[in-house]
């Protein structure tokens, strides 16, 4: 029994390592896409658009590892919750990779036009989204629910910034009809970054479930306390 458990534990650690690798790649691609936008670097943007393959390969590999672990070991309790969490986190990370491509595509269109305005909020959104991703994955590895809860709170900041960007650009568009196209791309980018925050939130929720078996998704708002 002990030998089997050790083997299972090693497999579980290998699975975590793959997810972390994927998380690192996803985070780097988000950083590169936003950086490419800010510096108007066509080559960097191009690399993000063409470079989705490693994440896609890891996506398939992680799924296959989870499948095998479930089939061979029929894990229970915390082990079961860890693997189910890994399956879900895997999907979230793959989507983050896709969103980085979406950001790069919008950036590619955007830099064909003169700058609409100085970019301040969008780079900040990029930093928050990356931080949320990193923290959610750290929380996963360290089984740290406090850090996971912190990620949940960060999501609010990202949502507010997205609203701010939208209002700001809407005002610009009303003022100057010629910038509608590039301004819409910036709105799309802020929307993609906000979605990345949602995926990090999903990961944090999965970590809380994995560690404490509490499902915190879609909880109704609590009654206001005195």
């Amino acid at each position: 029994m002990e030998r089997v458990v050790r083997h299972f534990q090693e497999e579980l650690e290998a699975l975590q390592a793959r997810l972390l690798e994927m998380g690192g790649l996803a985070e780097e691609r988000v950083r590169a896409a936003v950086q490419g936008l800010v510096t108007r670097d066509t080559a960097a943007i191009e690399r993000v658009i063409r470079g989705d393959e490693p994440i896609n390969e890891l996506h398939i590999e992680v799924d296959s590892r989870c499948f095998t672990l479930l089939a061979l070991y029929q894990p229970m309790a915390t082990d079961l919750r860890s693997i189910v969490a890994a399956v879900k986190i895997n999907t979230d990370l793959e989507r983050v990779g896709d969103l980085a491509v979406n950001i790069a595509e919008a950036a590619q269109r955007y830099i064909n036009h003169p700058p609409v305005k100085k970019l301040i909020d969008i780079p900040q959104m990029g930093e928050i989204a990356q931080l949320m991703l990193r923290d959610s994955l750290d929380a996963f590895v360290q089984r740290d629910t406090t850090l996971a809860k912190q990620v949940l709170s960060e999501d609010d900041r990202l949502d507010s910034l997205k609203t701010l960007v939208f209002r700001d650009l809407l005002a610009c568009m009303l003022e100057d009809g010629t910038i509608v196209e590039p301004a819409l791309d910036l709105i799309l980018i802020s929307r993609h970054l906000e979605r990345i925050g949602d995926h990090a939130t999903n990961i944090a929720e999965d970590v809380i479930f994995m560690v404490s078996a509490l499902d915190v998704r879609h909880l109704p708002p609590a009654e206001p306390t005195e």
Binding site: M1, V4, V5, F8, Q74, P75, M76, A77, T78, D79, L80, R81, K149, L152, S153, D155, D156, D198, T201, I208, S212, A213, L214, V216, H218, L219, P220, P221, A222, T225
Partner: protein
């Protein structure tokens, strides 16, 4: 999605609530109620302070490492331990409200009500028909020849064995396969119309197909009977039971809905056992 702060408040409420759910809800009807049960083999204490409410028409699984007392406790439920000299029982076991260790209890009648199937199938060296008819005859429940035949058929059907043996009822039970012999023992236990069925590792000596048939049978039988099953196979407990009780060192550590026990047990020691970290 609601805002994070309110979700976190709800999370706290959920956490404090979940700690009160370590046992199945008590408002369900109770079939077997053990109260502060202690059991000793001579000077060796095997069970300490076991209190549990087992519900009717569900499957309750007892799990735990070897020597944890789960089989001993199962055998206290129809006083099967009485046949071992030097054993001592303290506390109560109420079945439908009557203490089976109380005065004036007819142990033979008790065991008719609380049937038992063992790890190793133990058919009598008789025909298939006579194996089932045996309990009916010695209990004076045989009736007329055709009534007896009906009862034998009904029991074999309930045990999902009828179609396989209907053309050879007079052949020896010992010629059957292991899985069939075990189902025959279940049919034999059902023939005297018990309302509780105790199963002590009923599938541990069987191949996967025969095991699956026993598990399907258990699933069907719970509509009619209250079933308590001891198993070493955790996946089996997870598959067949509605409630699971984890025993360790002669004590009942945790008892809850099976899905809870195998996905999010409340006790660390249960967690360690179901994830294979000890035992």
């Amino acid at each position: 999605m609601s805002d994070p702060a309110t979700r976190l408040t709800a999370l706290g409420a959920l956490a404090s609530r979940s700690s009160q759910h370590q046992h199945p809800p008590v408002d369900r009807p109770v079939k077997i109620h053990a109260e502060s049960l202690n059991f000793s083999y001579g000077s060796t204490r095997a069970l300490t302070d076991i209190s549990i409410r087992i519900h009717p028409n569900v499957v309750t699984a007892f799990i735990g490492p070897s020597g944890c007392g789960k089989s001993t406790f199962l055998r206290t439920l129809n006083r099967m331990n009485d046949i071992i000299p030097g054993t001592r029982v303290e506390g109560k076991v109420l079945i439908d409200g009557t203490d089976i260790y109380g005065p004036g209890i007819d142990v033979v009648a008790l065991r008719r009500r609380v049937g038992m199937v063992f790890q190793k199938s133990n058919p009598f060296p008789k025909s298939i028909f006579d194996n089932i008819a045996y309990g009916l005859r010695i209990n004076g429940m045989a009736g007329t020849r055709s009534e007896l035949a009906e009862r034998v058929e009904e029991s074999l059907r309930q045990a999902a064995l009828w179609d396989e043996v209907k053309d050879r009822l007079q052949t020896s039970a010992l010629a059957m396969s292991g899985g069939q012999q075990q189902r025959l023992c279940i049919a034999r236990a059902l023939a005297v119309r018990p309302d509780i069925l105790l199963m002590d590792e009923p599938a541990s000596a069987l191949d996967p197909i025969a095991t699956q048939r026993i598990e399907e049978l258990v699933y069907d039988l719970k509509k009619t009977y209250t079933i308590v099953i001891v198993t070493h196979n955790m996946q089996q407990a997870a598959r067949v039971s509605d409630f699971t009780a984890f025993f360790w060192l002669g004590r009942l550590v945790e008892y809850d809905r099976t899905d809870k026990m195998f996905t999010a047990p409340a006790e660390k020691v249960t967690e360690d056992y179901v994830t294979g970290r000890f035992g």
